[in-house]
Amino acid sequence: MSDTSLQEMPKASSLSRDVWNQFRVHRGAMAGLVIFTLIVLAVIFGPMIHTVDPGFMNIRLRNAPPSWANPMGTDNLGRDIFAQVLQGGRVSLAVGITAMLLALFLGALIGVLAGYYKRLDGPLMRFTDLFLALPLLPLLLVIIMLFRDTLRQAFGPETGIFFLIVFIIGITSWMQTARIVRGDVLALKEREFVLAARSIGTPSRRIILRHILPNVISPIMVSATLGVANAIITESALSFLGLGFPPDFPTWGRLLFDGKDFLTLTPERVFWPGLAISLTVLSVNYIGDGLRDALDPHIRGR
């Protein structure tokens, strides 16, 4: 046998560093990250540089073409589109990401429970069916009716609605994730390392956290990508139905919706928010791809 002279145990290398190292070599992911960061920076710091008030209306300067003062032109009430796109990005991104996280959390939770506990499988999957079958719009009306005023009082009109929207989108878009995760967990649970963990005496709860969840990260990642896009678009639909943010509160989806009738008049009104949504979704998708690869030790080692 090779001599087992006492070597030092290496310092636990940080997982995040490994992941980052792998992530860095994924060209698409890096491009996605750069674009996404740019978008985030733009919406956070943009309003500090482009200091035009997005809500300010100069009715004499309506439907103006792009100019130095209004790089993307103005809308039909004379509001600066660039400022609105920047402002709207804050909300859209925040809603998109948080709602996606909520949906992911719910989807993963229900998927894992249904897949892991045979007893829960039937009820939870029927529960999922139920949510798939629920009529969205009336449900929204009920939720808004029940909670809007309470939330408005507790957090103010905008934050309150923000929570509500995130909640609504979250609870109505977890079902796909749950189905996929459940399928994967069913397969995963038969793998020997789960049995190994049981033979050690690890309780189910920790088996799920330690062994199951990290191994279903890849389908979750895909859902996450699609989830952001879905949330941004759904938010716009909600705003339009009057179930979303106050009407003077720009979001990308809403800008796109409001601008659509002006397609021939001032095309930049729909072009920019549309581009912003597409770029965000695309960059998130590539980041997701990269992360999935980076989180997979197999690929990471190569």
Partner: protein
């Protein structure tokens, strides 16, 4: 070549390199061998020694990340390397049959066994559906599957592992190939089933008279059926000899170690098994030393500097090693 008869397959200086994200992998390095018609060549070696890659390189079955180079790969005197893709394809299906290691995954789960068996017959021999089915049923009963005709309509999962492997064999033999390449066909099977299959192959070989390359890492299997044995290590052939000669008179330290590691059903029970310590070589670059040097009990300076070339020990027995087993010193 030494053999009087013209070889069926003659490989000269085969190299295979994989291009991966982590760099190149030199999986096969300068491999040369030949198979005579009707001969059964056993190929042994530990996992990762390049057995499968060698055989797949010959027939163009590797993924696109592989680069194959060879001075010549002659099949019945024709150089495969010069053939067009189509010609190679025809060769693959008709003249060379393949049996793969894992019978569980090597059959397409969604097609019936009958469909998969007749596919090659119809492509290569242009048989009608009916003829092909008749032939397929014939092949199935030949490999010992009872009630063959009815079972043509079954799906692979309805067969047991041993039967599936027989289906694979039947498939490979369907077009009466001149060469059968069997890549660890029994590794996944139980001993009793393995015995059944070995019997079967012995029988078929007599009946059909084709050349066979039998890859395995079970020396016992080789001992039972092979005419000649080729030992691979680190992508190279380290020793090649007729089967009895090899077991009686192994030359390469690796072959010797390999034989020693095996426990036996009979005879003395040693206190400890001999093992080959250390790791197989990483095939990252072209070899400039003996790939076995790091694990070799007889290692010499020269082993680290130079990759040994093959030298003949006896007629039909050659070895690639600087150490001479018969003299117990450098060759």
């Amino acid at each position: 070549m030494r053999d009087e008869i013209a070889p069926l397959l003659d490989v000269v200086d085969l190299h295979t390199v994989f291009q991966t994200r982590g760099g190149d992998v030199h999986a096969v390095n300068s491999v040369s061998f030949s198979v005579a018609p009707g001969e059964l060549l056993g190929v042994v070696g530990e996992s990762g020694s390049g057995k499968s890659v060698t055989m797949m390189s010959l027939m163009g079955l590797l993924p696109s990340s592989a680069r194959v180079e060879a001075q010549a790969v002659n099949f019945e005197g024709r150089n495969i390397r010069d053939m067009s893709d189509d010609a190679l394809r025809v060769l693959r299906g008709r003249d060379v049959g393949f049996v793969f290691q894992d019978p569980m995954t090597s059959l397409n789960p969604v097609f019936t066994v009958g469909y998969q068996l007749t596919e090659a017959l119809r492509t290569h021999l242009g048989k009608s559906k009916k003829e092909a089915r008749a032939r397929a049923a014939e092949m199935l009963s030949l490999v010992g599957i009872p009630d063959a005709k009815a079972r043509l309509n079954d799906y692979p999962h309805q067969f047991s592992g041993g039967m599936r492997q027989r289906v694979m064999i039947a498939m490979a033999l369907a077009c009466d190939p001149k060469l059968l390449i069997a890549d660890e066909p029994t590794t996944a099977l139980d001993v009793t089933i393995q015995a059944q299959i070995l019997e079967l192959v012995k029988g078929l070989r007599q009946k059909m008279g084709m050349g066979i390359v039998w890859i395995t890492h079970d020396l016992g299997v080789v001992a039972g059926i092979a005419d000649r044995v080729m030992v691979m290590y680190g992508g190279q052939i380290v020793e090649q000899a007729p089967v009895k000669e090899l077991f009686a008179n192994p030359q390469h330290p690796y072959t010797i170690a390999l034989l020693e590691t095996l426990p036996s059903l009979t005879g003395e029970r040693p206190e400890r098994l001999r093992s080959i310590d250390g790791q197989p070589p990483i095939l990252g670059a072209k070899l400039t030393s003996c790939p076995f040097a790091a694990r070799c009990r007889q290692v010499m300076d020269r082993c680290h500097r130079e990759n040994p070339t093959r030298r003949e020990v006896k007629a039909g027995h050659d070895v690639a090693c600087w150490w001479d087993a018969t003299q117990g010193g450098a060759a």
